[in-house]
């Protein structure tokens, strides 16, 4: 019996939160279309998300590209197809690895901080103070963060693509001794622009999902410092899972 009520309440809770996240995201986006949208706060967020995360994106992408090259080489070598590893690394980065890993890095680096910051504002009544002064906290706090995440993520994915391919090239050409001309030629010949745009679109969708989750969890913080920790953990876990679920849905149905 207990187990049913447990899972039952879990499901109700899930639907409740999902609804809350969707409503929050819609309200935030309505602000954008109404044009009542804050340039200064948004630029601050561009900076926070774009600049502070580029280092970690560069670092992880470099290694992902290098590992990819290594793994693919061992497989393809058996068929004498090691020349096309350049293309294979580029396409898997472009369509899948860069968007997913970059989004995960943004979750770790920015979404957690977003949730903690908003959560602290909530428990110290800063959000209440804003409301009392007749300033809409969604417009002031949430919209800039969602817009900045949606816009910045594709750029970071582009950066990740560049660095990841450099990593692949280093391992492929300098360590595994694949011919450098054919490494590049293969990419030029087979890689489609759509492989990259597909990744960028994914990234923007991930950006919308994770920033909405981060802001929602922050705004729904209660119970002091412990509550801030709790909502930060939730923001990280839920958005990480959401990235993977959304990745599957986008890959399976949309493209």
């Amino acid at each position: 019996m207990f187990i049913f009520t447990y899972f039952g309440s879990l499901i109700v809770n899930f639907i409740d939160q999902l609804g809350g996240i969707v409503i929050l995201a819609s309200k935030a986006l309505i602000n954008v279309f109404k044009g009542s949208f804050r340039i200064k706060q948004t630029i601050d967020q561009f900076y926070t998300i774009g600049v502070t995360s580029s280092f970690i994106v560069i670092l992880t992408s470099l290694f992902i590209g290098m590992v990819e090259a290594l793994q693919i080489y061992h497989g393809f070598q058996k068929f004498g197809a090691e020349n096309i590893i350049g293309y294979t690394v580029a396409v898997s980065l472009g369509r899948e690895l860069s968007p997913v890993f970059t989004a995960l890095m943004i979750v770790a680096r920015n979404i957690s901080a977003m949730s903690a910051e908003i959560g602290t504002m909530k428990i110290t009544e800063q959000i209440d103070a804003m409301e009392v002064m007749a300033v809409d906290p969604i417009n002031y706090i949430v919209t800039p963060r969602i817009v900045a995440t949606v816009v910045m993520l594709p750029f970071l994915v582009a950066l990740s693509n560049v660095v990841g391919n450099i990593g692949g090239y280093i391992v492929g050409v300098f360590i595994l001794k694949v011919n450098s001309v054919s490494y590049i030629d293969n990419i030029k010949q087979y890689l489609d622009l759509s492989d990259l745009t597909y990744g960028f679109i994914k990234a923007a969708v991930f950006g919308l999902i994770i920033s909405s989750i981060g802001c929602y969890m922050g705004l729904n913080t209660s119970k002091g410092a412990k509550g801030v920790g709790l909502s930060t953990t939730k923001a990280v876990v839920v958005s990480s899972v959401a990235i993977l679920v959304a990745d599957y849905i986008l890959s399976a149905f949309l493209f």
């Binding site: 602290t120 504002m121 209440d128 409301e131 007749a134």
Partner: protein, 243 residues
């Protein structure tokens, strides 16, 4: 100015406000006393709309605030000034930006006058050169005074003070109390003040109410209030004298 009728607020099983009635007279200072945890902050939060009461009415100019849609309520809130118990300063902004926030957001004063205006209200709360400091660099009492400056910069019609002098030294407490009195005298500002400090209450109050068990159990003009026979009120007043 504000009339509260039958206000009720519970958190789970805990009934904090239990059919509370209260009248806040225009142009007067109403002080609410009460023991810790009796719902004084909850009362203020219900009026300013950061907590939603379960039932009752809060009438302002003959309209019930609890029935209003947000845009209409926000128009009324523009007439409010609020000092939160813990000041609620924006910690990503410095003191200047905090104090200027409401007037900048609603473009209430000309851009080039904002600096002078911020300086003026900071002088009123007796804060010197702090504009560039961040809330984390201020003492508790300083934060409170910045919060107060932010609450009065819009020249509100009614100000809600949640323990304006708690944590301040007696000299600053006295000048804050005088500031509240001055604002009433000069600008005819209506004030609702929550405090534990009977000296402050004595100094500023026109009316005093005592909140206990979710109700205002005693409400009167200041002089009469201090002569109250209610045992709960007497206990509170005598404890202060003793201490």
């Amino acid at each position: 100015m504000i009339e509260i009728k039958n206000l009720r607020k519970a958190f789970g099983n805990q009934v904090v406000l239990n059919n509370l009635d209260l009248k806040i007279e225009a142009g007067k200072i109403t002080v609410i006393l009460g023991k810790s945890g009796q719902g004084k902050s909850v009362l203020i939060k219900s009026i300013i709309g950061t907590l939603k009461p379960d039932s009752g009415k809060i009438m302002f100019d003959n309209k019930n605030l609890l029935d209003m849609k947000l845009p209409e309520f926000n128009k009324i809130r523009m007439k409010f000034g609020v000092l939160f118990q813990e000041a609620a300063l924006f910690d990503s902004m410095n003191v200047f930006e905090n104090v200027a926030f409401p007037v900048v957001e609603h473009k209430l004063i000309n851009k080039k006058n904002i600096k002078d205006e911020v300086r003026r209200v900071l002088d009123l709360v007796e804060l010197g050169d702090v504009e560039e400091k961040y809330p984390s660099e201020l003492s508790g009492g300083m934060k409170k005074r910045v919060g107060l400056a932010r609450a009065i910069i819009t020249k509100p019609q009614i100000i809600f003070f949640d323990e304006p002098t708690t944590g301040l030294d007696p000299i600053v407490s006295y000048s804050i109390a005088k500031l509240i009195k001055d604002m009433k005298a000069k600008l005819n500002t209506t004030c609702l003040v929550i405090t534990h400090d009977l000296d402050v209450a004595n100094l500023i109050a026109d009316f005093i109410g005592f909140l206990d068990g979710g109700k205002i159990i005693e409400f009167d003009e200041k002089e009469n209030f201090f002569r109250s026979n209610s045992p709960i009120v007497r206990e509170f007043l005598d404890a202060f004298k003793g201490g």
